[in-house]
């Protein structure tokens, strides 16, 4: 039921959970949906031709399970397949390895306070923080969602409505043809497409979700390949349209600079200069910004009473940042210079 302040309630929401061989995690996801303070009208698990019993497990928990005739080949394909069964005003896309805080849906629903709002996303934090990769991602998310994303929200242009958990106005989603698989970052593609048709996207920091992040380098490599190529593909696809969207154009340009030239300088220029100038002091550049990164991280962690965990995880951030830089430089070179566009969707959380 909608409260006087809210236009919509949980009963206006259908959740689509795309799942391919997610038997190990989909039950937690569905249980977190059942525990919502504003339960959705329907949960649709799109069993993308799994062979590990994902569909049966979901069905046993009382949700609708649909199965395409053949594997769709991407998360975007599975989500769009599920969209045809949605009959509510709002649609949520939720990854099958992601659980929600109990009030997450209620808080996201509240963001749809005007007809212009087409999408809303929440705060993302890794569910498990154990390995160096999970710890690095934990710090990266704390930093980005505490500092960058709130600023983007204030200026009305969150860079991405996160693919792991976002809510959309169903008609806006259908007007875009659902989620497109023309890039490997369907969430960014959809967000930038919505901005270009004049729709709004909101970031709701109190709507928290917890995905399982890559725990090993093998999984992280797959995810970073997908994300880095997806980002470059979206820049190439949308650059003309994005130029017409205030603030977003600046944020994208800055992100592209940092993902390409800054990352290359970080990886290549710094050690070369240190060697050529025989000045090992230059290598301090790899960590000299640590206090600047640490401030937003500690603010975010303090709000969640996780300061010890943040401090213990902080060194891992620098490992992940270096790996990130490598994959982004490689993606820029492959996509823009060599014309080798990555098209295969490799699942890896």
């Amino acid at each position: 039921m909608a409260s006087p302040d809210h236009l919509f309630a949980g009963s206006d929401v259908t959740v689509i959970v795309p799942a391919y061989n997610e038997a190990a995690s989909v039950a937690d996801t569905i249980r977190s949906l059942h525990a919502q303070t504003a339960p959705p009208a329907e949960v649709i698990v799109v069993d993308d031709c799994s062979d590990d019993g994902t569909g049966d497990m979901a069905r046993a928990l009382g949700v609708t399970v649909v199965r395409p005739p053949a594997n769709t080949g991407s998360k975007a394909g599975a989500q769009t397949f599920g969209l045809q069964n949605v009959r509510t005003t709002l649609t949520v896309a939720l990854d099958a390895d992601t659980v929600l805080a109990p009030d997450a849906l209620e808080r996201l629903v509240a963001a749809f306070d005007g007809p212009g709002v087409a999408a809303a996303c929440g705060f993302v934090l890794p569910r498990r923080v154990r390995t160096v990769w999970e710890r690095g991602r934990y710090i990266e998310y704390l930093f980005a969602f505490t500092f960058y994303k709130r600023l983007q929200e204030y200026y009305g242009k969150p860079l991405i409505s996160s693919g792991c958990f976002s809510m959309y106005r169903t008609d806006a989603l259908r007007a875009q043809g659902g989620w497109s698989d023309r890039t490997l970052a369907e969430d960014m593609d959809l967000t930038w497409s919505l901005y270009q048709v004049g729709r709004d996207v909101h970031f709701v920091p109190k709507a928290v979700c917890y995905p399982i992040e890559p725990s090993s380098f093998t999984l992280m490599r797959r995810q970073l390949r997908r994300w880095s190529h997806g980002f470059v593909q979206n820049v190439r696809l949308h650059w003309r349209g994005v130029l017409g969207v205030p603030y977003l154009r600046s944020a994208v340009a800055v992100a592209f600079w940092d993902a390409s030239l800054s990352a290359a300088a970080y990886l290549i220029l710094l050690p070369i200069l240190a060697l050529l100038l025989r000045s090992p002091w230059l290598l301090l550049g790899y960590a000299i910004d640590a206090p600047a990164v640490l401030v937003p991280v500690l603010v975010g962690a303090a709000r969640r009473r996780e300061v010890p965990r943040a401090l213990a995880s902080f060194p891992a951030f620098f490992v992940l940042r270096t790996v990130n830089a490598f994959f982004f430089v490689r993606a820029v070179v492959a996509e823009l210079l060599l014309g080798r566009s990555l098209r295969t969707y490799e699942k890896g959380h």
Binding site: Y155, W257, R278, L337
Partner: protein
Amino acid sequence: MTAGIPGTGIGGLFYLVSALAMPLRELRSRPRGAKRGSRWSVIAGQVAMASGVIAGMWATGWLLEVALVHARPFLPVGLDPPPSRLWPTATIVAGAGVLAAVLLGVEILRLVIHRGGTGARVLSVLIVTAAAQARVVDAQDAPTFTVLVGGIRDSDRNATLRVEGAFEYPAAPGLRLSAVAGRERVASGAASAGIDRVSLRTAWRPVRRFDVAARVGATRLDGAGGAGGATVVTTGEVRVRWRPALDFRLRRDAVTASPLLVANRVMRTEGRATIQAPVAGPLALRAIAGTAALGSTQDVNHRTSAGGAVLLAVAPAGEVSAQFHEIHFSHASAVGYFAPRVVQTAEVATYLEYETAGSALFVLDGGVGVRRLAAWGLSLGPWGRALRLYALIATPIAPGRELRLELDGEDSAVAADVATAARWRYGSAAVSVRWAMR
């Protein structure tokens, strides 16, 4: 996902500025109603966080300074730490400069692509003027970006490193407009000088054989050895060609082959005309004449040149020629270039262009010959060798992307043109990537 790498590059600076600008934006927009209080609370939080980040950066610099001072006695010889405030200051200044350039570049690109608003109208007027009344319409060709890195080294131990970026926009069929910006560093021993160039260019080719190219720009020249004030000079060029019969060129540029030439602000203002007439079949005659004023802080010298060639077309895009050139200077010079009384060159030259089925282009322009000079007060001396070679390889590396490699070299017993010494040898290489934005 987080696009970009948090903490590195200009993203951190961009969001710091975004945070610090929030109160100003809020005061200007003055939202009303219940949300006003919550907005100010968000602003206070983000501004406080940004202030914390700045304080963290300052504290890092301070701690580094303290640590380096105390560590100095224990450091190995040769591992002296730099001035502790140098890097943080340099990083912030460079970061702010890059951020400003990126944001400005985005706004200019927006004006060019979307052509909306007052700024765009002003820009459109400029484009229309530069395009000689051509109407700006979307062309089928895509805009392109080119990034070039190159270097030159000569026998006088001058070395130049060049970086250049160009954005080219097809404003109309046959008409391309471009903006070029570049940085050079020329060094010789301990002396060095920086040169920054920016220019706007237009190339108009209404029919296959006729084209007009124009360039207007500015060049900033460092003071000698980085000392003294920098100088900004205007540069430009107009070139009209009716191929192969006529080639007329006027240009004004800074001569920057050595730090001394840069320090003396040597400018070349030159006019040059080439006329070619068919004789019989593949045989043609070519006449070349030119005059140049070489101005500097100390004097103005004049160089006149004349030459002729007999050409034999050997392929649709190839020729072999026998050429003779003579150059005169009005007086000797002490500002950094070699200016004998007369230079004579006789050579056999070849020019070849070949394009493969895969659109790779090879260009070769070479000459083998002899050269002699007459120093001031003396008659012409003995002939010495004169070799030159220019090669261009342009190959598509992907749809819409092209890699170019340019090589240029000269080895002469005596120098022609504006060289820094009598015996002259130099080589240059440049690699560039050009990609179309579709």
